[in-house]
């Protein structure tokens, strides 16, 4: 099976490519760039995608997307969310282990991988639970989970309160060089909190989560990473102080990486407005100053990548008062437009912008994705950077319609998404 993507602007951040060039695909892999390789002479046997006016880039890599299986099929299913992924140009995604039951047994992981492969959509890379049931007491069978396909170990949004357990979990993971992906939120300081502890929470009467909830937990994680030498990744930074601490830790030689969720690049606590439950997120949206620091930190490399932190939530769990609403927002289909919006506003070259959702996250996950060199899997996203679309319940493929961006006009919907050279999404009718 041969395919050519003609007339597009090829942007491949990994090779710093940004030029008009055709992309040639054979047997699910990139066969040539610019000039047709051998075997593409007989046009009758070659499929063609016209990418005039479009950007052709590596399929997006999302390092945090909840697919809700097993256990939360009433919120979303693998079918619905993987269709959302390809509609958003995402071809590889890592899912946190906070399913029900959590991904703490090899059988669950094998089932998830089997189900996702069967669907022939985006490639799914599960993260295993670092502790049994995510309860922070007993470490999981990490080697077994790794054999089953887990690429890293995480507590999702939960915290290991017992620092003895945290130390041991990191030591054990470091023994096998497994990466550990943790959130920095002190359980006690965040207790009952639902919004950034600042002016907006004070005005609305919402229980606050102070910045210290993040920085104290982060300090603990960084110190133990130094002790154990574990490969530590901090999930979803939220504050200026945390960005500064990560930069400092890295300067001091601690091997730490981190990410930011796309929402936090554009929103702050003021966007809660009149108790908009869609702005109830974990970690909380913080002040404008924090948002600026996240945007700058992502631009200067302190923050390694952007993720969608995709969390489809059913309407019933959102149509309740703000504090009672389940936190999270749907995001797979907004990862590209929100990242492009950030890049445009920061006046970055397109290749730099796209690196945060392609090559950089692929490197964090250690997976063969996020780049388009000859021989690489042909996971491709083709999008028209000028085409606008309105975010609406109807335009979202995800079963979760919960996003604070409902009603907004954004740019950057995938027109074609290819996985291993096969067209997985065709949005050209839009």
């Amino acid at each position: 099976m041969k395919l050519q993507i003609r007339n597009g602007r090829l942007v491949d951040p990994a090779s710093k490519t940004d030029r008009q060039a055709d992309l040639f695909i054979a047997d699910g892999r990139v066969a040539g760039i610019g000039r047709a390789p051998a075997g593409f002479d007989d046009q009758a046997t070659v499929g063609t995608i016209d990418a005039s006016g479009c950007v052709v880039c590596p399929g997006l890599v999302d390092i945090s997307a909840r697919l809700r299986e097993p256990g939360y099929e009433y919120k979303a299913t693998l079918e619905s969310e993987m269709a959302a992924a390809v509609a958003g140009g995402v071809t590889s995604l890592a899912c946190p282990p906070d399913t029900d039951p959590p991904l703490d047994e090899p059988g669950l992981v094998e089932m998830l991988i089997h189900r996702s492969r069967h669907l022939e959509f985006a490639k799914v890379y599960p993260m295993g639970a670092l502790t049994v049931k995510l309860e922070g007491q007993y470490i999981t069978e990490m080697a077994e989970l790794s054999d089953a396909g887990c690429i890293a170990f995480s507590q999702a949004n939960t915290t290991i309160v017992d620092t003895q357990v945290l130390l041991r979990a990191m030591q054990y993971a470091a023994t096998f060089d497994y990466p550990v992906w943790l959130s920095a939120q002190d359980r006690y300081l965040a207790h009952n909190g639902v919004a950034h502890d600042g002016e907006v929470a004070a005005r609305l009467g919402l229980a606050g989560i102070p910045v210290a909830a993040e920085t104290i937990a982060l300090a603990t994680l960084l110190q133990l990473a130094r002790e154990t030498g574990v490969r530590l990744h901090i999930r979803h930074l939220s504050s200026a102080a945390a960005v500064e601490m990560v930069a400092g830790a890295r300067a001091a030689g601690i091997a730490v990486t981190c990410d930011v969720a796309a929402h936090h690049l554009h929103l702050c606590d003021h966007d809660i407005g009149y108790f908009n439950p869609h702005a109830h997120l974990t970690p909380p949206l913080r002040s404008q100053r924090d948002r600026e620091a996240l945007r700058t930190g992502l631009a200067n490399g302190t923050i390694n990548a952007v993720c969608s932190d995709h969390t489809p939530v059913d309407d019933d769990a959102k149509q309740v008062p703000f504090a009672e609403a389940e936190p999270g927002a749907t995001g797979l289909e907004l990862l590209l437009p929100l990242t492009l919006k950030w890049g445009t506003e920061m006046k970055l070259p397109l290749s730099d912008t796209l690196s945060r959702i392609t090559s950089a996250p692929a490197r964090l996950l250690g997976i063969p994705a996020g780049r388009l060199a000859v021989g690489d899997p042909a996971d491709v996203c083709v999008f028209d950077p000028e085409a606008e679309f309105r975010v609406s319940r109807e335009s979202l493929r995800s079963q979760g319609k919960n996003t604070p961006f409902l009603g907004q006009l954004l740019r950057g919907r995938s027109r074609y998404t290819l996985i291993d050279g096969v067209l997985a999404h065709d949005g050209s009718w839009n």
Binding site: L206, Y274, V320, F322
Partner: protein, 321 residues
Amino acid sequence: MNHANPQINKHGELQHLITIEGLPREVIEHILDAARPFTELAGEEEKKLPLLRGKSVFNLFFENSTRTRTTFEIAAKRLSADVINLNINTSSTAKGETLLDTVDNLAAMQADMFVVRHAASGAPYLIAQHLAATGRNHISVVNAGDGRHAHPTQALLDMYTIRHYKRSFHDLTVAVVGDLLHSRVARSQIHALSILGVPEIRAIGPRTLMPAGVERMGVRVFNDMREGLKGVDVVMMLRLQNERMQGALLPSPQEYFKNYGLTPEKLALAKPDAIVMHPGPMNRGVEIDSAVADGGQAVILPQVTFGIAVRMAVMNMLAGN
């Protein structure tokens, strides 16, 4: 994003009363003016007016309250409305009908007005938005207290009381004392005082009971009650909930009383004609000394009387009269 103030309709009229924040000064003054004739009813033989005849007012109390519910009930009955009281148990263990299901059911019973008390901040907004989204704009929502967010009718009756005793707002120093962190009353009072032009609003309390960033609401924070009371015209005490009295927020009611209880000795630091207010129910010997609560400067019982008149004015206004 839902940034449009949902309590004001597209004609700029008050459709619901959910918060004081963002209300035009004229609207507040109009309510205070409208309440005045209703206070005079108290002395009349026949206390009922036919202004809300045929209307159904549902008191939806998802959180216990006898006093507020009763004053709303009296206010609605004096306007000749039919009043239905519903105390809805919302303990998280008793998982039952959702808030919006309850609202839908009651709306189907031809309600004209919901008076809502709920433990979660923002619940009345959710109800108002739901009514709007389902084409039932004719039903008004009155917030009778939501979480820590707002208690607008309490603040309005407080403003009525201040105006009654002090005549104007533009030269006053007003202190709000106690647990501001958990107080919906304090938030609404601060907004109302600031909209009505009070030049100095003070917040007095320990740091554990002050919301982060409260200064941005336009108040001067005093941790020392004696400092904060110096020269004030109005002292607005807040109730300290039992569950806050000991633990990590405060060591004991005794120590709280020593530092933040209003005693005659501390009150003497305020202006000689200062008035003392309290939204009730009072904890004597915790936030207020009996000598002050029963003393000549306290206007706590007139607050209750004015509260009925102010709530009548609010309901009457929302009914379009």
